[in-house]
Symmetry: C2
Subunit: 341 residues, 2 copies
Amino acid sequence: MKKGKATIHDIAEKLNITASTVSRALNDNPRISENTKKQVLKMAKQLNYQPNHIASALRSGKSKLIGVLVPTANRNFFSSVVRGIEDIANELDYKVIISQSYEDPEKEIQTVDALLNARVDGIIASIGKNTENFDHFKKILEKGIPLVLFDRITNELEVSQVVIDDYYGAYETTKHLIEQGCRRIAHFTSPKKINIYRERLRGYEDAIRDANIPFDPELIEESDMQLEDGRSSMENIINKGIEFDAVFSSSDYAVMGALQVLREHKISVPNQVKLAGFGNEPFTSFTAPPITTVDQKSIPMGRVTAETFFELLKSEDKKSATHKTVLKPELIIRESSLKTN
Amino acid sequence: MKKGKATIHDIAEKLNITASTVSRALNDNPRISENTKKQVLKMAKQLNYQPNHIASALRSGKSKLIGVLVPTANRNFFSSVVRGIEDIANELDYKVIISQSYEDPEKEIQTVDALLNARVDGIIASIGKNTENFDHFKKILEKGIPLVLFDRITNELEVSQVVIDDYYGAYETTKHLIEQGCRRIAHFTSPKKINIYRERLRGYEDAIRDANIPFDPELIEESDMQLEDGRSSMENIINKGIEFDAVFSSSDYAVMGALQVLREHKISVPNQVKLAGFGNEPFTSFTAPPITTVDQKSIPMGRVTAETFFELLKSEDKKSATHKTVLKPELIIRESSLKTN
DNA sequence: TACTTTTGAGCAATCGATTGCATATTTAAA
DNA sequence: TTTAAATATGCAATCGATTGCTCAAAAGTA
């Protein structure tokens, strides 16, 4: 029984062959006879041999580890994407290392470094919302290490990316609100320069214009989009006496804040004001009334991201293997946005 | 610039010393002179040296990797614990590998094996609710690999564990409902033989008895505790015509289901029936009315679990370093359980 | 029978860092 | 001045698996 770990050398010794032969047999190398392979496999089982991935990683340069970098692990969207990634990675015998940037650019840089140090075979990331310099991501690319971005992306990098069609999601949502009779739709967005909010705003604007409704900048509220921010935004609009009959928020949390404030002001949803959010956070279906929102397809996004990643990993020419996938989000219509006959 | 990666040998060559000296210098070994250390550090920076953790792991037998096994990564409670673990692990230069068992005992076994194969330095796990055989965990212990369990534990294993005081949480919640005037409190629980539901049931029963309220088995509903299950349980009770004035559910999801059904039956919460859940899932504060629940201290639990883990890792004698931490949960009282004057 | 191929395995170097055991150089003590 | 004790490095093996190159034996060809 020894110290517990059997190595290829132990197998080799028992069988009176060399470790190289054992290694080749285990890797099903055609240069080894069937007979030898059979014996090796049998002995491996008998000795309860477990390959040492670390040794193999050192020699082969492949760690079978993927680094996943998300702003925070405990947000439903991100943890669901991680789940999707892990689903696929495990099927292919890869392990997922998870790290968080906490939306802090400094920490994001360190974390990328740490992942690189851990010798991951590649990185999947969603960019923190305060990140404006992308040198740390460029560094990954320069090292020839596969990189795939999802959801929070940037155009400054030539990388594979997986996103949902934020523009479409926002356009459809806004259109839906208009169809329900709304003409003065407030929009909550973020001043942050990240793709998702920008695209959603664009979708909102276009839908408004296409319906020949004048765009009123007074109806746009910028904030950090947390629940509290949504509350303030709503209060702002109400206090300024701005006329509005709907709120379309780029974040479910912010729209939740709006709902609370409306309740407090005894403004009825959806009778007087209709609401829609974005993200399909679990809670949106549990509120009273349930909130209309846009599903971001988080688990599929994780799976597609992982698939994109492994394609890239296999490809010879990283450059030309770069491509962008756009998933269609789904408008989930619930009571908060429905016309009350 | 070479191929990009500088090794200790490159540093050694430039400085006309040996790799051993460089290695010692980088590890701040007292046997190396301050002067040499300074030079090595300087050259390391100059060559942009990044230590190869894989090589170090192979030689030292320490991978600086922790395996974290959870039923599913995208449940708020688990992802928050993972976040807490990651917080601490990162401070100590450890990386976290995450894997999921999907509540499937078979998959759980495979996953443990995979983590062991990845040569993690230790494992932190929460047991799947269908797991009844613990041999795979015993195997971890037999190999002398540190193991810490959190939340979903078992008494069949002599390991360090971190849990909340489920009994206390349930007792306090039930007591609170009684204080609000309830006498016929239904309890939703699971038939699964796992510690958390058993303890919560015990807390419920004791609180009832201590208040001299007769225990009525008709008020106990067993299910898998998902939202749909909560709905059925509530329907059951209503349809059977069982008298009740409160529901205390061991799961927030199930109590959410109950709330929906009560709404549909036009039974007013908290006027006619009071509600309390367990878990403090984010949505519970967003419902109408907001739901009273028990906070499980997920992020602290993650941090404490990680701390327990690292203590164990450092300790010489794994056996005696085994200990159990019990965190106090917090009853979060919200409108759903409050007496309406 | 003599010569070329094919097949199956072994040898030894390698991946990069670590570490027990020398060894050389100083410094301190006798 | 001689010897003992520190101090600073070097040497070489090691962790376990992989792989280019070499070589012997068996099979095929002329």
